[in-house]
């Protein structure tokens, strides 16, 4: 007869072991191994394809692949075809660093693009600096990457948190007032973004309270209750990814949109698509926006990318697109693949209009290796009935990136070149 009984204490111990294993679940992602062609230029991309940031990460990868196809159609980099090798950081620092090392040591990539998660991007910058590989950060925002911990080989496409906060803070103060409540994710991006907002607020004589919340928080009711008790003029929702989606849904479900304004830095298109229309509200920054009717090349690019991916492109698509093209431009400027020479070529490098895809000059600043695009400040709104489904943001102001960033010297960056 089959023995059906088993020890309960053995079951409890197994359950405890299982719980410990559950905590390690996000780390246990299998490596994907595939054949690599010889004699190509290789770009390694590390992004959290799985995890709470998978939507923006996937968009960046799509943008990068679109750029890759364009590049290869036009002769590649230095006359060689280009390969894009994508690895999943699983939104974990250790995994991201491991994948970066694998791309550099085993796959011999010439460039690294990484990571949506600021903490992972920051950690990988240490690896690429050690290995002397040109590293472009498409979408990790924390300030020290091009601030006090800047490195000669690291450049960034997306804004710093200081740029985003500086661009929108005055609008929030003028429109709504100077008493704020923060919902802040408890990691590098959240800390530096809140610092930027607080600097602006205190300079204007404002006051604030807030909550630092773990990434992956599912329920925001406790924080929203506190926010209501505080009675701010604006709820600064600077959560990211799915956390922002959840918090905004719950903010509206509690009816708090009737009592206070909401705003912050990024309210990305990926998140806007994930919320019901009532949660499409508030004042935010966009790092790039698809609807720029009077700007050359934008409409064609949007149409081409939509045809390739089935989606209206977001700022994340643009980050990935610019990241890959910047590698090509750096190599073309240096006329070789030496990282230091390419990095020198990238300092002050202006993006051509068909890559910048916005008004004004967009260039990598020499002092801190930060790209200086315009910042789109505006208001979220529900898509008009019968209209374009992604028409969810109206740009009110275009803030020049270098104005929002302030002088490079003020960032604390001192680029030290290798001997």
């Amino acid at each position: 007869m089959t023995n059906f009984t088993f020890s309960r204490s053995m079951r409890r111990r197994s359950l405890l072991k299982a719980s410990a294993a559950a905590a390690l679940l996000p780390l246990a992602r299998p490596f994907v191994i595939s054949a690599r062609a010889a004699d190509t230029v290789k770009i390694g991309m590390v992004n959290p394809i799985t995890g709470v940031y998978s939507a923006p990460a996937t968009s960046e990868v799509e943008g990068a692949k679109f750029a890759l196809a364009e590049l290869n159609k036009n002769g590649g980099i230095l006359g060689r075809q280009v390969e894009l090798l994508v690895e999943d950081s699983a939104n974990d620092v250790g995994t991201g660093v491991q994948k970066a090392r694998k791309l550099i040591d085993r796959d011999q990539v010439n460039f690294i693009l990484a990571d949506v998660n600021s903490a992972i991007a920051y950690a990988i910058a240490g690896v690429t600096n050690e290995k002397k590989i040109l590293h472009i950060v498409p979408g990790g925002h924390t300030d020290p990457i091009t601030g006090k911990d800047c490195k000669w080989n690291v450049f960034r496409v997306c804004n710093t948190t200081a740029m985003d906060s500086n661009a929108v803070a005055s609008t929030l103060i003028e429109k709504f007032g100077k008493k704020w409540y923060f919902l802040t994710p408890d990691y590098a991006y959240g800390h530096t973004l809140q610092e930027g907002f607080v600097k602006n607020l205190t300079a204007a004589g404002g006051e604030y309270q807030g909550d630092l919340l773990p990434v992956g928080t599912a329920d925001f009711s406790a924080s929203l209750i506190k926010a209501q008790q505080y009675g701010p003029s604006v709820l600064l929702n600077i959560m990211g990814g799915a956390d922002q989606v959840n918090s905004l849904k719950q903010f509206v479900q509690f009816g708090m949109d009737k009592k206070m304004a909401v705003g912050g830095a990024l309210y990305e298109l990926e998140n806007m698509r994930a919320v019901p229309k009532e949660a499409l509200t508030g004042w935010w920054t966009m790092e790039w926006w698809w609807d720029q009717p009077n700007v050359p090349h934008v409409k064609e690019w949007v149409a081409a990318l939509k045809a390739a991916t089935g989606k209206t492109p977001s700022a994340r698509h643009w980050f990935g697109f610019v990241g890959v093209h910047s590698c090509a431009l750096a190599a073309a400027g240096a006329k070789e693949l030496d990282a230091a020479k390419m990095a020198h070529a990238m300092e002050g490098m202006k993006l051509p209009p068909e890559i910048a895809l916005q008004p004004g000059d967009v260039a990598f600043r020499a002092g801190d290796h930060e790209l200086m695009p315009s910042i789109f400040v505006g208001e979220a709104h529900a898509a008009p009935a019968g209209g374009e489904s992604d028409d969810m943001f109206k740009t009110q102001t275009l803030v020049p990136g270098d104005k929002a960033a302030g002088p490079a010297e003020a960032t604390g960056c001192k680029v030290e070149w290798p001997a």
């Binding site: 059906f4 359950l15 905590a23 939507a55 599912a218 019901p276």
Partner: protein, 289 residues
């Protein structure tokens, strides 16, 4: 401050009710089959996504009823084809199998529905705040509690007053004897597994209205289920009920004083219980009589 704490205790109980619903399904499967169902979060995710897809045809209310049954049927199929071969073995075998299933479900969801979060629209009658000056509550949260309470009560009545429920309860104590009395324990286990997955699927439908529908939502909610079982006591359904409510309240109240520790407090609570009373608050003595 006392109002703040009261509001957070209330919301903690509401969230705790949701954790209870999830944890009860996990506990049912563990108690009878000895399977640590690591894929429980995956089935929650599937419940949310299936409901999202169905709601375009049969509306929110139809999807609420149908989606958990579809997920339960899938769960039974997986149990009959894969999991049942591991009964009687070290529970770590089923842990590894369901661990792999969890990845498959998450990546399958990402592949089929995309990494992009999906907007779940709840009926307007539920999406209003009921009061923000008295207990700070929304219609949907109250609805979640009502559904969870109804299902939990139904489950307890089923286990207490029906012949099948009696067999399940007897099976958790001594499955050999139940088998020798002529009960088809294979079918009993399959039914019990389906019941547990039904609860996971229902949790997913409810979670979709509250949270963003993303492929990782199940893995985010899985840990509180494990903790609820450990705190309440392995083998005890009433213990799981109390454990789930406790961790919900603990997380809510902690946010008042130390928000960044709101998740960690569940683990601290688990650690304290394991140190002070390793069998959990109700342990094996707390089985329903």
């Amino acid at each position: 401050m006392s109002t703040l704490i009261l509001f957070n205790v209330t919301n903690g109980l509401i969230i705790g009710a949701f954790y209870v619903l999830m944890a009860l399904g996990l506990s049912l499967i563990l108690n009878l089959s000895g399977v640590i169902n690591f894929a429980h979060g995956g089935f929650l995710t599937l419940g949310g996504y299936v409901a999202f897809t169905l709601s375009a045809y049969i509306g929110f209310w139809g999807a609420l009823i149908v989606a958990p049954f579809i997920v339960a049927i899938l769960g039974v199929v997986l149990e009959r084809t894969m999991i049942r071969w591991l009964y009687g073995r070290d529970p770590l075998y089923s842990l590894l199998l369901t661990f792999g299933l969890a990845f498959m479900i998450e990546d399958g969801s990402r592949w089929y529905w995309g990494p992009q979060g999906l907007p779940v629209t709840i009926p307007p009658i539920l999406s209003q705040p009921l009061s923000s000056s008295f207990f700070f509550i929304t219609g949907y949260r109250l609805f979640m509690v009502a559904v969870a309470a109804g299902v939990i009560l139904g489950l307890f009545c089923f286990l207490r007053y029906t012949r099948l429920g009696l067999r399940i309860r007897a099976g958790t104590l001594d499955l050999d004897t139940v088998s020798s009395l002529g009960v088809n324990v294979r079918l009993l286990r399959s039914f019990n597994f389906g019941l547990g997955i039904f609860l996971a699927g229902l949790s997913g439908v409810l979670a979709g209205g509250q949270l963003g529908l993303i492929p990782t939502m199940g893995s985010t909610l899985l840990m509180p289920s494990f903790i609820a079982i450990i705190v309440g006591g392995v083998g005890s359904l009433p213990g799981t009920l109390v454990g789930g409510l406790l961790i919900g309240v603990a997380a809510g109240v902690t946010t008042v004083f130390w928000p960044s520790a709101s998740e960690a407090v569940m683990y601290v609570l688990m650690g304290v219980v394991l140190l002070v009373r390793p069998r959990g608050l109700f342990g094996e003595e707390g089985m329903m009589s």
